[in-house]
Each structure stands twice: as C-alpha cells, then as structure tokens.
Symmetry: C2
Subunit: 356 residues, 2 copies
C-alpha cells in the first residue's frame, strides 16, 4: 500500500510528490513550518491529504512548543491554525481539518499540557485512519457504477497520494479492480503540474491496473470514438447545491461527457462538502505562479516576456454531474436534497453515538 | 516578416521549428531526403507549410538528379513524389502540392531537361508566393469577424510558421491587429508538441500582439468567465461537408465553444479542402510516437512501462463550425453548398483565364 503521509517518531513523514515518478523519496518534517511549506509547494497535494497534513502539522507544532503560560499556549495554537489556513485556498478539507483540531484542542486544553499535546497527535492520527476507512467505503459504494469492460477516464490524481491512502476516484477504480472487474483507465496528464502523468500513472502501475496516458486535449476525441464509458474525478470543494471545484480542466471534461452522453462522477468524502456555500460561485479559486504554465518540468516552453494565466481549479456546475459518490452513499440530483440527507443522517448517527 | 521556408542558392532553407522559441536556427536542405526528414520530424509543420516543403523538395530532388534517359527522369520524379506522399498522412496540402508539381512536370517534361528542372523550381516558388497572397486575402476576409476589444482563443499554430508566411488563423489575427483593432489572443499551449507555447506565443511576441498562454484544459474555464469572444483555428484537411481535421484538441474546443455560445471559426485556404471526401470520417488521422506524450524535452514525465495514446489530429464535425474562412470568402452552413460554390467559381475563373 502507498503511504502518503504518516506520523513516526513524533515527526510527520510524507512521500515527496514533486519527485514522483522518477524518485520515491520520503521526507520528514520536524516542525510545523516544514509542513506548511510542503503543502504550499505541492510536496503533498490533494484535498484530503492537505487536510491530513494540516492536522498532523498542527499536532507537530503543539508537541514541540514550550509555552510558559496557558495564554501563550492558546495563542500559539490559534496563530498556527491561521498560518495553515493561509497555505492554500480552494480545498475545504484544509479548513475542515483545522476546525476539527480546534474542537479537539478546546476539549483537552484544560487538562495537563502533555495530555493535551498527546490528544492532538492522536486526533491527527485518527483523521488519517478515518480517511482511509472512508475511502474504502467510497470504493464499495462507487464500484457499483463500474462494469467489467469499462474504460474509465480520470483527471489529475484523486488516488492514494491525494488522501491518507486508497484514494477517492482511484479508490473506486481500486475497488472495482479488486473485485476482479476488467477495467481500463485513461489518465489525463493534467497540465500544468502533470499529476495524472506523474502520480495517477504511477499508482496504476503499482497496482497493475491497465492504464493509458493521454494529453488533456485528447479526451473529447476518445469520447467521440466511444472509448470512454465513464468519467470519475475527485473534488477540492463541493457546495451545498452540488457544484464542485476540482483541478483545472474538470469543467471542460464534464461538458465533453455531457455532449457524448458519458456519465460524469465526482468522488469525495463528506469533509469535501462545504454546506456553508450555496453554490460553486462562492468557492475561491487559487491562482498559482505563471511559471508552472510557462515551463514544462522545469524547461521553459514559451518565449521570455510572454504572459500566462494559471488558475489551479475550476468549478463544474451540478447540472453536469451525474452523481456524487461519498462514504455515506451516492448522491443524485437534486443535490440540495440528497447531500442534505447525508448530513442529517450523519448528525443523527453522531448524536445517537453520544446518547447510547 | 517571419520567413518559414524559402528557396536560396538552389537549396531549401527553413526555420527549425523544433528549436523555437529558445533558438532561431535556419536549416539548409541540399537534397530532397533532408526535406522529407524535416517534414517527418516536425522541423517544418502546418498543413500549407508541409505542402510548400514538398513542392520545394520535389524541385530540389529533380534539380540535383542526373538521369541518363527520359524514362529514368520520369521514374525518379514519380518515385520521389511517392516518398513525399508517405511523409505525413493527414494534411491534404501535402498531396495537393504533389499533384500540382506533377501537373507542372507533365507540362514541361517534353522540353529541354534543364528547362524542365527550372520550371519545377519556379512552380515551387510560385506556390509559396501564392500561399502568402492567399493568407493575406484570408486575413482581409476574416478580420470582418473580429471586433475591437475581442479576446480570441487559438489552438496549435496556424500562423506564419504553418504557411509560406502571414498565416491562416493568425493571418486573421494579424490583419485585425494591423487595422488597429484592439485584440487579445489566448494561446492554447497545445500538448504534446506545444506548438502554441513555442510557436504561436513566439509569433505574437514578434508582432507585439497582446497574448496570454494557457494550458489546453483551461479553455472551458475561460469561456465560462466570458473571457473568450471567438475561437479561430486552422485546419489540416476539410471534407466537402465542412468537417475539419485539425490538431488534437480542436474537437474539444469546438464543443466548449458551442456550449458557451462562442463562435468557432476555421481558417484555411481552398487547398486544404478535399472535395474527394464526403465527410470527415474518411480523413486519415496520424498517430505519432507515444514518446511525445510520455516525455517532454527528453525528460520522462510518466513511469517506465506506462502506455500512451498519441493521435496528432481530431475531426470537428461541421455542426460545431460557425464558418470556414477561405481566400474565396467566408463559407457558412450548409457547407456542401457554400464550399461547392467556391470551387465552381474558382474553376470558372481559371477557365476564363485560359479563354481570354
């Protein structure tokens, strides 16, 4: 199994996704600043993985700090949470994880300092363990949509590397493959950062799942040739109405899928759904350094002085989305209702858990 | 003015498009084999430019051969024409240019050998001169579709570098710019060979036409933000019904344009229209070496052992094409009729030219 990020010897260890697929390097972060840098420079990426990294980074920061007063301890924690919240803007899992660490902190801060520190570490480890379990459940739910013989198109990397392990979109691919379904994956290379070519192709190869790499602009031509049966991608933030932000290019893919009558699925945990947002118009879209577009794998491809535009994500309106696959089940339109139901049930179950 | 290919000292000189934009190197071909290699390895590319290269290559081959009999002279010519016809399959301009050189050959072959050789050279030079004039006329016709303030999206390179000079799609951009229209060009980088990033961005910079480079998967998001007023691309072969083969990714762009109500224009000379083909289904689509997808500038981007797919072109059905801009005018649907009219007029004019 691919280990994306884990806690070891009171440090945070993660695979360096910038170095993949040419090298498999594990990097150890010994202070929270290193974790923030790793999130910003894409050493770790993918909405759920970013959330996990933030949780572990916060636990790491608190573990190694030595406040002399409760006030200092509190201030340090909240200031650090703010720093993590600035790391990247689009993936809501980052903010979800920070909120969860805050709730944990508020529950334990009145106890012994060392207990509080350990509780934060345990919470971060619980988040990664839960994430893997959620992905497996998503795989069980989603594989019902995949038939033997299907050609699946995916964009970017919504795999083990984007999560605690197993993956969201690729978790469904894995689950279908594990069940013995004969599937083939077409992998969009996903410019500018090439997460498809570098990460998804690497994951497919590790699992011996048949896969073919294409450039992003080939997807329409493949669909026209009836070579794609379904599209499954991840998400970085989903609004209450089902509009979904995901890696740039997802919106175009969704339109192509609609035009060709190909089902278009989003796979994401409930922690990716931002019920505070009514529609995708409210999702902040990160713009990254233009050098990512002007260069290809470090080699300049355009003349000096040429302008570029580099939005890292786009928003796919819910009307293009056939279904949203979560750990709680498969949501279908109208998403306001189907998604809302998942959260109601979740709330009910959690309350029941507390009562009994 | 950018000189793509020209005849000098009984050799064929062309700018090495593989080296652009990092280096401007002019390469001299002294035998026809070198011209075929240049077509195959994309030293020169773009449908009209490939046609010109073939014409010049054929003239070069005949100029430097020393047949001892008329039969040998003939055989050499036709064998060489066959070799050129094998160089690349999709752009019809290659076959159009070979046919034109054959007609010239058949007219002059009975005269003195040296006269015949010179006539072929003159015909090849005439083809490039005509091509530039045709592009300028296309620019005059097409600029009426461009308004000041427009943001134009283009794919691949249909510029001076794809032709004898001036360009087809970019010829229209140039004509609008020369008229003082305030335009902005969004340039699709155009994976895998990056003709947009390397060649179109270079041409726009040379002309000081405002341009912004994007990755191919950003086009949909730009259209959603109402940042694109029209799309103009070139073509490698157009069927009698208006279906148009062009660089891979064009078909996806056309669907995105339709979904957003953005006009989608093809700019191409009549020599790109293959009246022998009823529909685009009959256009052969070149598949190139997978290494173009798996590598960039010699650096591998996907793990070893990963499969790839590399169709160099796709076909956009006529229903997605708002108009086809040619030197004879702007064709609109139904294309069977509007295109046919251009060829009837052309035939009439040519016959008139012979009569009077």
């Amino acid at each position: 199994m691919i280990r994306t990020i884990y806690w070891e010897n009171d440090s945070v260890v993660m695979i360096d996704q910038k170095a993949l697929p040419l090298e498999e390097i594990y990097m150890t972060c010994r202070n929270y600043g290193e974790v923030i840098t790793a999130i910003k420079d894409l050493t770790i990426r993918g909405a759920p993985a970013i959330g996990i990294a933030a949780a572990m980074g916060i636990a790491l920061g608190m573990l190694h700090q030595s406040a002399v007063s409760r006030e200092e301890f509190d201030n340090y924690f909240y200031r650090m949470c703010d720093e993590f919240a600035q790391a990247r803007p689009t993936a809501v899992n980052l903010f979800w994880a920070i909120e969860r660490m805050k709730r944990c902190f508020e529950n334990v801060v009145t106890s012994d300092v060392n207990n509080a520190k350990r509780a934060l570490v345990e919470e971060a480890i619980r988040i990664v363990d839960e994430d893997i379990a959620i992905n497996r459940q998503m795989g069980i739910n989603g594989k019902t949509l995949v038939n033997s013989g299907d050609n699946i198109l995916t964009h970017c990397n919504a795999g083990a590397l984007a999560t605690g392990g197993y993956g969201t979109a690729l978790g469904i691919v894995r689950a279908a493959h594990e069940e013995g379904k004969d599937i083939h994956v077409f992998v969009d290379e996903t410019r500018p950062i090439l997460q498809g070519a570098r990460l998804t192709a690497w994951e497919m190869k590790k699992e011996s799942i048949p896969a073919t790499l294409i450039t992003d602009n080939m997807a329409g031509f493949l669909m026209k040739q009836h070579k794609i049966n379904l599209v499954i991608v991840g998400a970085d933030r989903i609004a209450a109405n089902g509009d979904a932000a995901n890696k740039i290019g997802t919106y175009s893919l969704a339109i192509l899928a609609k035009e060709h009558g190909v089902p278009f699925y989003i796979a994401a945990p409930l922690s990716t759904i931002d019920m505070a947002l009514q529609s995708g118009d409210e999702i902040p879209i990160e713009e990254r350094d233009n050098a990512e577009v002007l260069q290809f794998h470090g080699v300049r491809i355009a003349p000096e002085g040429v302008a570029a535009y580099n939005p890292a994500f786009d928003v796919t309106p819910h009307c293009y989305i056939t279904a949203i696959i979560t750990e709680a089940g498969i949501a279908r339109p109208p998403y306001e209702e189907s998604i809302n139901l998942f959260f109601k049930d979740k709330f009910k179950n959690e309350n029941q858990g507390e009562t009994y």
